[in-house]
């Protein structure tokens, strides 16, 4: 019994997005698709422990969900007439064992449609493609479940009433629409880091893997997957035994996930060749240079600065400029870096950005200006959000002789 329940869970995780996407395409209604998807899973939980797990659990779930959708449409005739009477016939004819096509790609584009509020895009992606419950999505974004439920309901209402289509953009629109989808997936990943939830970061990696399978020719998808893998491979090493954040320089490289690094590295050339590189490919290349070096001293900082120059041209932002300044400091020394960081500190967006003050403090410390470093660490500590970050800053502050 327990085994069957475990299988349902595993199948659900694997098949939920595909099931939902296929049903959305068939019936054109996200709510109906969600309803029958969960009804099918409930049926599986009831039947599988008794009858055994079917040979092709995904196909079984699909057939059951379709039947339930057809029943529901027959019951609600007005609804049926409006929605999908024509499609229903073709639905019933599909043989039970037949495999169903993978329609998840269109769901990716629908969930990340630019007409939806940004905050809803990640939530909807987690709900529809990852199969997380509303409560789980709420936990991921650290908001009350009621708030998240409302956000999702509102987004679904907009999809329905503004008629946001379930479709994959054509080749001419793809360059315009794909970055939004990648941004949504990357923000799920960074949310995992902000909330220190490895499972959420891993879910983002899993979703990008699926996207890559669906769009194998898109180099930026490979770039994003490479970037995520190369960053996530260091997850274990980035927090010390005392709970403080461990910066790249001091990480125990033995704790890096070598398999994940190997996979990430293998994707980088694919992301960078065959045309001009995109921002994720370039960031993956930077991450690759970091993990390939034995230590900080032998890291190819010249190459990293050059890549940051490319990135600055592709996506100019003060945050990118700050990272570039840190790389310049490694290449040319702390004073050169400090000059760049100070030039940036006037930027509105960076004034209260903890990493800027932390970077400035580090450079001051390395330049031997301890008193100024103390002030800068103090400011960074005030602004830092996560506890490991704060613990790291407190440690540094102690080292330069400040008191916490």
């Amino acid at each position: 019994m327990r085994a069957a329940a475990g299988v349902v869970e595993a199948v659900f995780r694997e098949e939920h997005g595909r099931l939902l996407a296929a049903l959305v395409r068939r019936f054109g209604d996200l709510d109906l698709a969600e309803e029958v998807t969960s009804a099918a899973v409930e049926a599986a939980l009831a039947h599988w422990p008794v009858d055994g797990v079917p040979e092709r659990p995904g196909a079984w779930l699909m057939a059951t969900a379709r039947r339930k959708a057809v029943d529901r449409l027959r019951r609600d005739r007005v609804y049926a007439a409006k929605l999908a009477l024509m499609r229903v016939d073709s639905v019933t004819e599909l043989p039970e064992g037949a495999d169903f096509p993978d329609d998840r790609l269109q769901l990716f584009f629908t969930c990340a449609h630019p007409a939806l509020p940004e905050e809803a895009r990640g939530a909807l992606t987690l709900r529809c493609l990852a199969g997380l419950s509303t409560a789980e999505v709420a936990r991921a974004y650290l908001v009350p479940a009621a708030t998240m439920a409302q956000r999702i309901v509102r987004a679904k209402r907009k999809i329905r009433e503004a008629r946001i289509p379930f479709r994959v953009p054509g080749a001419d629109e793809l360059p315009q629409r794909l970055p939004g989808v990648l941004q949504t997936l990357y923000s799920i990943f960074t949310e995992g880091y902000a909330t220190q939830r490895a499972d959420l970061a891993e879910e983002a990696v899993r979703l990008v893997r699926i996207l890559r399978r669906l769009l194998p020719a898109e180099r930026e998808v490979s770039g994003l997957l490479a970037l995520m893998l190369l960053v996530h491979a260091r997850w274990e090493a980035r927090v010390g035994p005392d709970g403080a954040l461990v910066l790249l320089d001091d990480q125990d490289r033995g704790r890096w996930d070598t398999a994940m690094i190997a996979e990430g590295l293998s994707l980088v050339p694919r992301a960078l060749t065959g045309g001009p590189a995109g921002p994720y490919g370039v960031q993956a290349a930077i991450a690759a240079l970091h993990v390939e070096a034995v230590d900080v001293a032998t890291t190819d900082w010249r190459q990293i600065v050059a890549l940051y120059d490319v990135l600055c041209a592709l996506t100019p932002s003060p945050v990118v400029a700050l990272n570039r300044a840190a790389a310049v400091a490694m290449r040319d020394g702390p004073v050169a870096g400090l000059r760049l960081v100070d030039a940036l500190s006037g930027e509105e967006r960076l004034r209260d950005y903890a990493p800027l003050h932390a970077a400035r403090a580090d450079l001051l410390r390395r330049a031997g200006r301890a008193a100024e470093a103390v002030v800068a660490y103090g400011r960074a500590l005030e602004l830092a959000v996560t506890e490991p970050e704060r613990a790291h800053l407190r440690k540094r502050l102690d080292e330069v002789g400040g008191t916490t």
């Binding site: 449609h113 007409a115 009433e161 503004a162 008629r163 946001i164 289509p165 479709r167 953009p169």
Partner: protein, 111 residues
């Protein structure tokens, strides 16, 4: 419905000509999606009416353009989905150079 918020012409060169509007208008009609549409007269001719809770009617001149954008006209078009509507909105000269076009579905009260 496409609500056209034309950008107020600043000192810069005009971003669209009358011909651009004619081309767009022709395209909308020829695509067979045109339901209705009007361009509105200048804002100085506008008048605003509001009725308070006690029935008092207030009529004022305006609205004055407090933002840089004013409603300049509208199109009601019949297209299958939002992406198609956005495509037409982007082709509308009103969305160019500082202007914008707001896309709103017309409410369907279940006819």
């Amino acid at each position: 419905m496409l609500l056209i918020n034309a950008g107020v012409a600043g000192g810069a060169e005009p971003v669209c000509e009358v011909e651009d509007w004619q081309v767009f208008d022709k395209a909308v009609r020829e695509a067979g999606i045109f339901v209705s549409g009007e361009s509105l007269a200048d804002l100085v001719t506008a008048t605003t009416v509001s009725v308070a809770g006690d029935g008092t009617r207030t009529v004022v001149d305006g609205p004055f353009a407090e933002t840089r954008e004013v409603l300049g006209g509208f199109y009601v078009i019949d297209v299958p989905d939002l992406d198609a509507a956005l495509e037409w909105a982007a082709r509308c000269p009103g969305s160019w150079g500082g202007g914008s076009v707001v896309v709103r579905p017309v409410a369907d009260f279940g006819a």
